[in-house]
């Protein structure tokens, strides 16, 4: 379903960025329902790799008219080792930021990817440098998904010099729920100049340069961009994090700390800040309101002005950590410079409320979490260090994000209440990191530049 169909009349604003050069994934919201596939490719030969990029590029969609676009789309992103394998000029390679060049696994310390999340525990081929190109297909129907995937496949299958490392289908989940049973991907940042004004609750539009290279960011200047401009402009960075959801650990946690079914659902809502239906606790503090959760006009339309202490949405809940909105934080921070565009994709078995065994934790089921930003590496490091694996900014000491944080022995989760807070001891890691990569997502013209880069 298109965004206009979901939301009806959209608040329009002038287009001031080059939508027809920017890849569709950057702006198109995940469809409802959604189907898709991620394909990870290895380039064995630079010339063949560039030829593949040339062949695929006409099938990569632009963001023009993104709010009304409903058909399937294909995106392409290239890792640093991929840019090397494609034979980009050294001057261009050197112009990428260090965190991108060394890759996500190499930055594990900065990302607090230790213990269970350590790259040593990742699944092959993540973190090995072998993933060169990621191709993703998104669609809102099974038929159009298969057609688009078939078209993409024709560009690499049986094509010497490009090898498929892995293929992962995603989506097609009952009710589009994530692996822990929640409606997800609700709040996205509003972006200045993209043609659509802020949706209810999105806050003011953020400068396009925070998300797309070549435009001024929030500080008023463009962010550093790869050289030459033909390569960097209208591109962005994409991070991918593969999480395995430990559904049984999660279910046991809910059962141990809440006695009745309604209490368990409230606890589940307190961890995230929203009921599983998507209804935010600010607007539905006592009981779930599925109609509210399903209504895109209302389910994100709130501030924390009436909830400064987190008695509705806990200060440490996932939603409030990732976007504190107007919360008064303990450390000076600007929420608008740490936002990311999220294209979260659920894979594997659907959420099973009855799962409680250790074996259930390892049933293939989780998220390929994709995030986009003109400084994706720096933003992920900031989030992982400050807002995910730390609680100081919300006056929560060492507490960590209950959804994606890496919990240490005896970790706690605080639920503010009147007259006294409840502090739950022994929260565990519910989503374990099993892989991750950084990619550059070039503009359409930059893809053509890359395809031709051997001729220079």
């Amino acid at each position: 379903m298109q965004l206009v169909d979901r939301l009806g009349e959209l608040p329009r604003s002038p287009v001031t960025i080059e939508l027809d050069d920017i890849q569709a994934t950057v702006l198109r919201y995940r469809p409802e329902p959604y189907y898709g596939t991620h394909v990870m490719l290895h380039v064995d030969d630079a010339r063949a790799g560039r030829e593949f990029v040339r062949r695929l590029t006409p099938h990569v969609d632009s963001a023009a008219g993104w709010w009304g676009a409903g058909q399937a789309w294909t995106s392409i992103a290239i890792s640093y080792s991929g840019l090397v394998a494609l034979g980009l000029p050294q001057d261009s390679l050197d112009s990428f930021p260090e965190a991108f060049r060394v890759g996500m696994a190499e930055r594990a310390d900065r990302l607090r990817d230790h213990g269970l999340n350590d790259p040593r525990n990742w699944e092959h081929p993540f973190g090995t440098g072998q993933i060169h190109i990621g191709v993703s297909v998104f669609s809102d129907s099974e038929d159009t998904w298969r057609d688009a995937l078939q078209t993409a496949r024709q560009q690499y299958e049986g094509f010497a010099g490009v090898t498929v490392l892995m293929t992962q289908d995603f989506g097609a989940q009952p009710g589009d729920l994530n692996p822990l049973g929640y409606k997800d991907s609700i709040g996205q940042p509003a972006i200045e100049g993209c043609g659509v004004d802020s949706l209810p609750g999105q806050g003011r539009p953020i400068k396009a340069g925070e998300f797309i290279l070549g435009y001024p960011g929030e500080a008023g200047v463009p962010l550093p961009m790869p050289r030459p401009d033909a390569l960097g402009r209208n591109g962005t960075y994409a991070g991918l994090r593969k999480y395995q959801s430990r559904v049984a650990t999660f279910n046991r946690f809910l059962r141990e700390h809440a006695e009745t079914e309604p209490e368990r659902e409230l606890l589940a809502a307190k961890l995230v800040g929203r009921w599983r239906s998507g209804a935010p606790l600010t607007l539905a503090p006592v009981d779930d309101d599925p109609a509210l959760g399903a209504d895109p006009h209302r389910n994100n339309d709130f501030t924390y002005a009436a909830d400064p202490h987190g008695r509705q949405v806990p200060l440490g809940s996932h939603m409030r950590r990732m976007n504190p909105r107007d919360t008064t934080m303990a450390q000076l921070a600007d929420v608008n410079v740490h936002r990311i565009i999220r294209r979260s994709t659920t894979y594997g078995a659907p959420y099973d409320p009855a799962a409680t065994s250790e074996r259930d934790d390892e049933v293939a089921r989780g998220l390929y979490f994709i995030f986009l930003s003109a400084k994706a590496m720096a933003t992920l490091e900031f989030l992982q260090q400050e807002w995910v694996n730390n609680g100081n900014f919300m006056n929560l000491g060492d507490e960590r994000d209950p959804n994606i944080g890496l919990q240490e022995e005896g970790a706690t989760f605080t639920i503010p209440r009147k007259p006294v807070r409840r502090r739950i001891h022994g929260i565990e890691t519910f989503n374990v990191l099993r892989g991750g990569e950084y990619f550059f997502m070039p503009s359409l013209s930059a893809l053509r530049w890359i395809a031709n880069s051997g001729e220079r």
């Binding site: 929030e218 500080a219 008023g220 200047v221 962010l223 550093p224 934080m329 303990a330 450390q331 000076l332 921070a333 600007d334 608008n336 410079v337 740490h338 720096a378 490091e381 900031f382 260090q385 400050e386 730390n390 100081n392 900014f393 006056n395 000491g397």
Partner: protein
């Protein structure tokens, strides 16, 4: 400007306490007699401190060292022409009181010291965590204060510049020694404990009436 130098006599990283003590004794062989005697007097006590530290000194990110949650930052900059006068006048307007820094929320203390006839600035602070993750926030939330202070420095590119982090890091010097009374307490945590303490006192006052 990086001034930490590793002399050949410095123990290699990872050397044992015994090796370090031997190295120290060797270096103290030329020391004045009072120094030699003093070293022998405290070596026993020092050995146990080294063996069982409360916290380990770790890296505070790019540069600087950290004990628990609290990091040190020490920087020396050459002043730009007229920079020392401007900075002093600005600090004097505040009567040398930097209480406004409270709103940053992570600074335990901070000092500006003018060196060598107003040709260099020594800037020191103790703060929570790492500083460079928050530079983007400073660039949008308090850019003017940072530019007023830092335009006194030779080569300051401006807080909004993508070069600002590199500029600052290149002037930072690691402390060779670092002490924090409560390495686990961030500024936010201290504020919270004060509130909890006041509430506990109020409660105790009521039950004891």
């Amino acid at each position: 400007m990086t001034t930490q130098t590793e002399t050949p006599t410095t123990p290699a990283p990872g050397s044992t306490a015994e090796e370090k003590i031997q190295q120290l004794r060797d270096l103290f062989a030329d020391a004045p007699e009072i120094g030699k005697r003093a070293l022998e007097n405290v070596l026993g006590e020092l050995t146990s401190q080294v063996a069982e530290p409360r916290y380990r000194v770790e890296s505070a990110g790019r540069v600087g060292v950290r004990l628990g949650n609290v990091s040190e930052l020490t920087m020396i900059f050459p002043f730009a022409p007229g920079g020392a006068k401007r900075l002093r006048a600005f600090l004097q307007l505040l009567n040398g009181n930097l209480d406004g820094a409270n709103k940053v929320g992570s600074l335990h203390d901070m000092r500006f010291v003018f060196l060598d006839n107003d040709t260099k600035l020594l800037f020191c602070t103790a703060f929570d965590g790492e500083w460079d993750p928050y530079i983007d926030d400073f660039a949008t939330k308090i850019p003017d204060y940072l530019d007023i202070l830092d335009c006194a420095l030779e080569g300051w590119p401006g807080i909004r510049s993508p070069e600002a982090k590199d500029y600052l890091a290149s002037h930072q010097i690691n402390a060779e020694g670092w002490y924090v009374a409560h390495p686990d307490l961030t500024v936010a945590e201290i504020t919270r404990l004060k509130r909890v303490g006041a509430a506990a006192d109020e409660f105790l006052d009521k039950v004891s009436e």
